[in-house]
Symmetry: D2
Subunit: 461 residues, 4 copies
Amino acid sequence: MKLWDGRFSTETAKSAWDLNASIAFDQRLALQDIRGSIAWANVLNSAGVLSVSEVEKINHTLKTIAKEFKTNDFDFKETDEDIHTAVERRLGELIGDLAGKLHTGRSRNDQVATDFRLWLLDHIPILFEKLTELQVVLVKKAELDIDLIIPGYTHLQQAQPILLSHWWLSHFWSLSRDIERLLQIKERTAVMPLGSGALAGTTIDVDREDLAKELGFDFPSQNSLDAVSDRDFAVEFLFFATLTSVHLSKLAEGIILFSSQEFGFIELSDAFSTGSSLLPQKKNPDVFELARGKTGKMIGNLTGLLATLKALPSAYDKDLQEDKVPVFNAFDTLMSLLPVISGALETLSLNHEKIKASLGGNMMAVSLADYLVKKGIPFREAHKLVGEAVKIANNKELDLNELSLAEFREVSKEFDSDLSDVFDFEKAVSQSTAIGGTAPLAVQNQIVSAKKKLQEALHIK
Amino acid sequence: MKLWDGRFSTETAKSAWDLNASIAFDQRLALQDIRGSIAWANVLNSAGVLSVSEVEKINHTLKTIAKEFKTNDFDFKETDEDIHTAVERRLGELIGDLAGKLHTGRSRNDQVATDFRLWLLDHIPILFEKLTELQVVLVKKAELDIDLIIPGYTHLQQAQPILLSHWWLSHFWSLSRDIERLLQIKERTAVMPLGSGALAGTTIDVDREDLAKELGFDFPSQNSLDAVSDRDFAVEFLFFATLTSVHLSKLAEGIILFSSQEFGFIELSDAFSTGSSLLPQKKNPDVFELARGKTGKMIGNLTGLLATLKALPSAYDKDLQEDKVPVFNAFDTLMSLLPVISGALETLSLNHEKIKASLGGNMMAVSLADYLVKKGIPFREAHKLVGEAVKIANNKELDLNELSLAEFREVSKEFDSDLSDVFDFEKAVSQSTAIGGTAPLAVQNQIVSAKKKLQEALHIK
Amino acid sequence: MKLWDGRFSTETAKSAWDLNASIAFDQRLALQDIRGSIAWANVLNSAGVLSVSEVEKINHTLKTIAKEFKTNDFDFKETDEDIHTAVERRLGELIGDLAGKLHTGRSRNDQVATDFRLWLLDHIPILFEKLTELQVVLVKKAELDIDLIIPGYTHLQQAQPILLSHWWLSHFWSLSRDIERLLQIKERTAVMPLGSGALAGTTIDVDREDLAKELGFDFPSQNSLDAVSDRDFAVEFLFFATLTSVHLSKLAEGIILFSSQEFGFIELSDAFSTGSSLLPQKKNPDVFELARGKTGKMIGNLTGLLATLKALPSAYDKDLQEDKVPVFNAFDTLMSLLPVISGALETLSLNHEKIKASLGGNMMAVSLADYLVKKGIPFREAHKLVGEAVKIANNKELDLNELSLAEFREVSKEFDSDLSDVFDFEKAVSQSTAIGGTAPLAVQNQIVSAKKKLQEALHIK
Amino acid sequence: MKLWDGRFSTETAKSAWDLNASIAFDQRLALQDIRGSIAWANVLNSAGVLSVSEVEKINHTLKTIAKEFKTNDFDFKETDEDIHTAVERRLGELIGDLAGKLHTGRSRNDQVATDFRLWLLDHIPILFEKLTELQVVLVKKAELDIDLIIPGYTHLQQAQPILLSHWWLSHFWSLSRDIERLLQIKERTAVMPLGSGALAGTTIDVDREDLAKELGFDFPSQNSLDAVSDRDFAVEFLFFATLTSVHLSKLAEGIILFSSQEFGFIELSDAFSTGSSLLPQKKNPDVFELARGKTGKMIGNLTGLLATLKALPSAYDKDLQEDKVPVFNAFDTLMSLLPVISGALETLSLNHEKIKASLGGNMMAVSLADYLVKKGIPFREAHKLVGEAVKIANNKELDLNELSLAEFREVSKEFDSDLSDVFDFEKAVSQSTAIGGTAPLAVQNQIVSAKKKLQEALHIK
């Protein structure tokens, strides 16, 4: 069945039909489409286009069709161009010509925009839940590992000792921003296009504010031309998903590094690792590599839709049909990644000995400079003096903490017997007490803040 | 001058230095860098690292240096690796070793993140202003052209008549969403990294909430590892700019089409057009083509930074230095495009005759279907009948409104003498009265809503 | 069945398994996988790992399995992690433990790279054929429309008259470059990874040059580390597909414009158009809009894989699994677009009257300038004088050819009675006789060149 | 000076002028523009538009102007819209009205496309040289380190021992493919647009094949519409540059990892490292991080231009002006990266002890499996048995080579006293003798092949 062949003389070419049809992917909008149709039938009733008995018949049947979708009993036909056509075709099979009244004053242009927004409004909360679950895991890890000092890196070089807790929490905060963005996108998605017709608005007498509320939207759209072509919500969702994925790739990169033999801080559980078909000893962090690798696909989804939208001229163009596949893919990707990452983090084990052994004495350099600053040397000069000590140590293939006091005093007479106090990782860590620092007290406060964020999130949910 | 060569034995290779140095582009952060340094000097004073006279000397001199930047009298040296080094080098020239105390407890990692955020916070309001100026122009045009009916298009095919006002306003609403996003990004940018040190926090005793307020931030960052590597604000800004640019490309595409000889609705003013070096008659909409073409660059800026961020492992990596050029470019591009677009829209002239002549009678098809629906025919059937009438008209190389009543009655006996009323563009337009529709009354209401939005924006400013 | 669980104690988590498994998409490599396995079994026989009867048994059974795939009788199991595992599992079902010998000296790393390259080598010729078919259509159109003059545009403004043939052929040449690229990519794809093992090469004694020939490759790879991670061929294919798609989008944009009511040059056949569910008169160029819109997806495919590949460290990483979906998508997209475009071009009809009526006299401006140049006026001055004539004509709302000689002579006394000869579109077109120009003779030569290209292509095929 | 204001009444708005002008970046085309003009003047002479004395005067003066550019004495004016205008303006200053004859039969559309291609043809050889220089370094390193065994990784897990030489060479081959692509792009760039006019070809009588040869092109373009809008060469160059950059990012990632304290295989020389402003001990691999990070920008350049080109309708559109900045940026980026990488690789030092210590006994697992295979156990079973041995070793926190024969025999009685031979890294490495394997002999052959490639390259140069 076609909704539009009155003026056409020739059959659509098979190849053109196949290219054009969107049913393969827009069938995911089935329940949203039916929900929208039920609301629209009520509008048509209020406007006098449908009688009470007609609307009851239509809506009862639409609910039956919804059940068919839910139980996978809906029988798609080759001639179903898209989900809207499929539902209207089925409605016609069940109630005859009356089905033909439902599309009065409505177009697939406003219909699909409505369906797609409803779908996203339905699915954002599910994603929200998976994101907060990962956050919960990160906070748990932070609580567990509060006493554990690991090397902190910049440029992948050992820089300063930090708490492992602090590292876990750093990933908590990036996810918090993702969640904040997601909720703001949800608000911009909750604007209803229905009642915009093909492009000019509908000629049906309808209170679109009421209709919006009935369908769970916050507001009706303000301009019908804009409403049928606005895909900001889709591209914003892709951006959210991409940036979230970038954050996950950062976490993944860390875990992959820490799981290597050379770092050796972490061992993933067998349940979240895979092996090699050739090399019997291998235990690979595939799930984290996939988290990292799929970021590329996410970037591609975003870039692709932006490029598709570029320079589209008027209200609705068929190019917009390209909006759904990337959004579904982005959603599915996050939904498959997040629980696996949560599970893998929860079940990994730490190699305390390897971690301890890895703490390099050179990471005390800035503490040494601080030591000199406290003796009145300007920081820039102190930095230089410690740099010289590092040079001496390097030449002797030693770490800073392995130099003798005498050797230090060759660099500066300010170095004295109290110097040995400096080479204490726990003391070093405990110095960074300001908000956001890695001192145990500051990290404890950070955990409190993080839990508060989670509480707020639960409240939103 | 290098801030870091204590431990190094060999000079940096010239090629490596040139690759590494960021002064060519990060000098745009000069004033923000100085503002940050003044605040940090105050912190060092409170913490007892600097005496009162020292902090006064430093801050007085920093202000002098700021003036040098403002008057373009600052003299960059080849050895200035970046803006932070340049400022500290100059400070040293003016006040000697005391300058070396300023960097105590601070790293270029938290410093550059602070500078960059401050820069964006300074410049978002400027962009906001240019965006609202374009919105004001669009509302003005909408008020002026409230009586003018143009063809409305979907798939670039004439679909239904609409008000030109409605078309102008459609672009208003997409910009409104851009502005909303920009303001939300501003909030996420207003988080202060200063006090995060290189990665682990600072050992200086500092109230970071006070420091944040002093610098005009809303909050201090919660995690130092996250703070020195978080570039969400930059990539979010790029996303905002890209989506805004996509919206401008849509507007541009419309203007380019309407300015073609074939459409002929619009003539750009000479002040915003350009000619051809070979073809003397040409008047080209270059500025709109550039608005459209630069969308590609914007997409590239966004994609590029996302790809750069992908899979970066730890706190700070040098890759992050790639964040500034795209943000500056995106800002500059919008700042150069927006006023030109505003100016070009304000000064264009309309060709009323061409517009009127272009209104095709076939756009009445849905009104004809509505006519049948009112006579009790289900819409789907009505659609089919009108489709047949279109087919007949096409075969006779006529428009729908050129068919005789007799010809219509061959399709359906429901067509009657009241049919002629249907072929009235003004009447057709006036039917779409629901919120967001193209009826003059609805568009008047839309203008009121738009003005209210602008009032709110002025209030924010 | 897993190929790797010897060292694992716990079952893989369901969520991790689902994330990790690639069978959903890599099953498209089934026949290539089997072909590779047959060749490898022969290698193992030569190397003494398999006896003659063993290799015969294995290869006979592999061919049986290939048949199962061809007839859709292969029964996938939930435990089939990927196509390699599925085939080996099935082999084991049919011949028992002997199946376990086949993977000797081979890894899924070199296996999948081999399969994927074989797949591309199998499918490039199919794409090549569709591309040349479209080229054939373009040449046919060029031959048919050799007498038809249309406006030529720059900046979407009428610039100079051209032959429609010339326009059709412009798309021929961009496709020629695409084909040239495709064939070069084919050569770079024809490098065999098999025998690279997991990363270090194989310990099996194998003549890889012979093996390459047997499998239809040109050469064996030169470095096993490179061979298992090299995805240049995949990303190059995506680039080819994207640029081809950009070319199709340019053609599509032209057709969409020419099909609008305002241009009205072209009417698509019903077989390659679609209608509107609401607006009965609409006949939309959906297939060309999809050709245009899908370019975004293609850009996304390319960008995505490039971002995935960025900064991957060592020989094989699981991220590489993300290579297949975009390549399959790019191939499928072109395969669905190309025949539809060919069909739509072949069946469209031209509106000669509309085309003729659209030829604007202002397009004669450069001919007028040439006229003055021939009278000895420097071109730059001639350009200026004609520009003034245009200004006068515009003010009178006339086209250049509607000005009187007297009016022209107000601009320059060089204009004379022979001026009327200039305003002849056919004469104007016939002036551009140099290679690549729009003069009928030059276009005839172009058609000859194009046909020669096609002949060469047929020869390649 | 404008080349086109005859028909315009109003001055161009300042903001529009600034947006439109391209002189800021297209001045890099100055010498190519002049070369093209000299050739065109000769054409005009042959065609009778310029006398011999005129062409001599013009060409002599153009050479004078070229000198001004070379010595940085050319004085740009605010009114120079682009490089073509600047040159023609200067020509006019020096020789008066005669300058106005030069633009006869030529447009900036074919002119800029010609200039840009000439620029690329001039610069590709320079890039080619830098690429081969890096290849030379890689081969040198491979020769030096032929005896050194390092762990080979997949999934960043130790997989099998390999020669460091083999690792160096893996990067050689990816660059070889880049070079091959670059040379093919050069051929497609060597097609001359000059003589295509604005879009329709030129009316000047010109032998474009001769003209092409004179300018150093291989062929004239075949279709003027295509020629003025074809930017395939630019986007192809960006693709080449991006994929090259991806390859450099892979190398960079390896060096960054190997330079970390945890791996510790490599120490960069001071000349190619940088330090930290806060942490005195730091020596950071900034140049490799920039190589990695700039890959993002390269991806963005490519994506951006592709998105710009998408759906451009007709011959020349101003959007095409966006082609130059990304190409210049891509060229400059590679030109700054390549010598730094070459230098850094040449000067780095290896830590043999750390490398030796890092070789994990578990990497012998596949050799163990091979051992069992040789005793007649099917590989799949052998893999499983070794996996069990790994499990036992892991539980005892041992490496495979630390298990006793008795422990091995608990897994399989096939393990025997000859087992100890297996645990020899050199022997393991020496097994992979097939082409492309990591055995010293195979790597020696690889070096020979690589040198042959370089010889061919020198020949091309």
